[in-house]
């Protein structure tokens, strides 16, 4: 076989592999799970904060609109269209107070999340949830943390992906909605790659400091009064344990982007990430953040993206062949 023939064969297989990786039609079920779980977690967070809406987002909140006037450049500033003060000014002509405006936006956010959870007008619900979440978090940047950052990412994806095609009221109303689509595959790939990039980055950022290597990061995290859920001061007497947990955290986060793609290691990798986040929920009390990360992992890597018919046709265990990484593996052998 000549060089040009090998080169041509390589290109052909590479294109075929990439096409399968990105465009092989996939079940919409993982994205439906994403929709339901993300909406459930954010509803939990929103309802937990319902008594504090004015204190968090109101004009006279603990950190008021005026207090952050010098933060951020337009349009991310207090004068920008993505701040509740802008909407409030527009609505004041109609006699709607700033307080009512804030409560209205929060109410719309909760309603949109409920729509998302039930899969009712899924796309519209996703856009509304994204826009209202954006308004609330841009208005109160001093009170947003990890869960809000990932909520924004998840809701942004939800605006574009076929999240309502199954396990939804939309599907009950329109039974003809496609259950296997190319856009579901693209969406799933984006979610998977985003998670892989995120874990790699956060793992490398951690590995750059010595605290994650000598266990001090774990020691600090579980004993700081704002995070500690139990008295873990005894850990100081067994420094090997936090050191091993620190190493395991680095291994899970950095190894994720490698091992989550292979059929044989996918479930154990995703399960390890889920376990890590469960540990964060229990030990640090960051419940909604941990639940959101678990939801993203489950939707991206633990829900089979093939339909039952496809699985039966292929007659192989779903996880052995359904990620599309098989296609990449084909190309990578050259």
């Amino acid at each position: 076989m000549s060089y040009s023939e090998i080169s041509s064969e390589f290109r052909r297989r590479a294109v075929r592999g990439l096409t399968r990786f990105w465009l092989d039609p996939a079940s919409v079920r993982p994205l439906a799970i994403l929709r339901i779980s993300v909406a459930a977690v954010l509803l939990f967070q929103a309802l937990a904060s319902i008594d504090s809406v004015r204190d968090l987002y109101g004009r006279d909140a603990v950190v008021s609109w005026d207090a952050l006037q010098s933060v951020g450049a337009f349009p991310m500033s207090v004068d920008g269209p993505f701040h509740l003060s802008f909407l409030s000014r527009q609505l004041s002509d109609l006699g709607i107070s700033a307080d009512h405006c804030v409560m209205g936006v929060f109410g719309l956010y909760v309603a949109a999340l409920a729509g998302l959870l039930l899969g009712f007008q899924s796309r519209l619900s996703a856009v509304l949830a994204f826009m209202t979440h954006l308004l609330l978090t841009e208005t109160a940047p001093a009170t947003t943390y990890g869960v809000d950052q990932f909520a924004r990412i998840a809701l942004f994806y939800s605006c574009w992906l076929p999240i309502g095609n199954c396990l939804s009221i939309d599907h009950l109303i329109r039974p003809g909605l496609k259950q296997t689509t190319t856009s579901a595959r693209i969406g799933l790939r984006m979610l998977q790659l985003h998670l892989a990039v995120m874990y790699l980055a956060t793992g490398l950022h951690k590995a750059a400091g010595e605290q994650w290597w000598n266990g001090e990061a774990i020691w600090r995290a579980v004993t700081l009064p704002g995070l500690a859920q139990f008295d873990m001061s005894w850990l100081a007497g067994v420094p090997l344990l936090p050191m091993l947990i620190g190493w395991a955290t680095l291994a899970i986060e950095i190894g994720y982007c490698v091992f989550v793609w292979h059929a044989r290691t996918r479930r154990i990798t995703a399960a390890a990430a889920v376990g890590m986040h469960a540990g964060i929920a229990v030990q640090l009390g960051l419940t909604s953040f941990a639940l959101l990360m678990i939801a993203l992992n489950v939707a991206a890597f633990l829900v089979p993206p093939k339909t039952v018919e496809q699985e039966q046709a292929a007659d192989v265990p779903c996880f052995s062949n359904c990620s599309g990484f098989v296609a990449v593996r084909e190309t990578s052998t050259y």
């Binding site: 909140a61 603990v62 990890g146 010595e210 995290a221």
Partner: protein, 192 residues
């Protein structure tokens, strides 16, 4: 692969490239340096600018804001930022000290004033409030002849009996009009 799918995949890859750059901490030039504002807005609004530096490269000492109120009779009482009815709500409130720690002086002052006004509104009998920003840790010298800093005790220090405590970083006192007042202006003075 048809044209439509090609475009969609290219857009997806473009978005993920921005995510990758954000994760790598690559800062985009601002408008004055030839940057494209629309790209920066897109990164910001979609979360593609996130560098995912959670607890990285290490876990720093915790900070908190505490409020010491006083009424006309000189009676004092305290409160903190845990204003929510449950932990989920309080996680949002207790993020404020972390943002405060990274804010410039002007923004930090505005935030402290805002907190003082909000807390005085919740405590109508108070005539002024002392806003205390504290850090949980121990004072430690950074290097030979370096500055003193607050850090959390290591496991070894803890084993040798060193215990962290809340250390006052700075304090400001505000009256009900949101004006900063000096301790000597307060009737009867204040504990420093």
């Amino acid at each position: 692969m048809n044209k439509r799918n090609q475009i969609i995949v290219l857009l997806a890859i473009g978005h993920l490239a921005l995510v990758g750059l954000g994760a790598a901490g690559v800062a985009f030039p601002d408008r004055a340096d030839g940057g494209v504002p629309a790209v920066e807005w897109y990164r910001h609004f979609t979360g593609a600018n996130n560098s995912f530096e959670f607890f990285a490269p290490g876990v720093g000492p915790q900070e908190r804001v505490r409020f010491v109120f006083a009424d006309e009779q000189g009676r004092e009482w305290t409160d903190d930022l845990e204003l929510g009815r449950n932990r989920e709500a309080n996680l949002s409130f207790t993020t404020i000290p972390f943002v405060l720690a990274g804010a410039d002086d002007e923004t930090a002052w505005s935030m402290l004033r805002s907190m003082a006004v909000a807390m005085l509104r919740r405590n109508p009998s108070a005539v002024h409030v002392e806003v205390r920003v504290e850090s949980f840790g121990i004072e430690r010298k950074l290097g030979d002849g370096g500055e003193w800093a607050i850090d959390f005790p290591s496991m070894q220090q803890y084993r040798s009996g060193v215990r962290p405590e809340w250390i006052l970083l700075y304090q400001l006192t505000f009256n009900r009009f949101g004006e900063a007042i000096e301790p000597e202006d307060i009737d009867g003075g204040m504990e420093q």
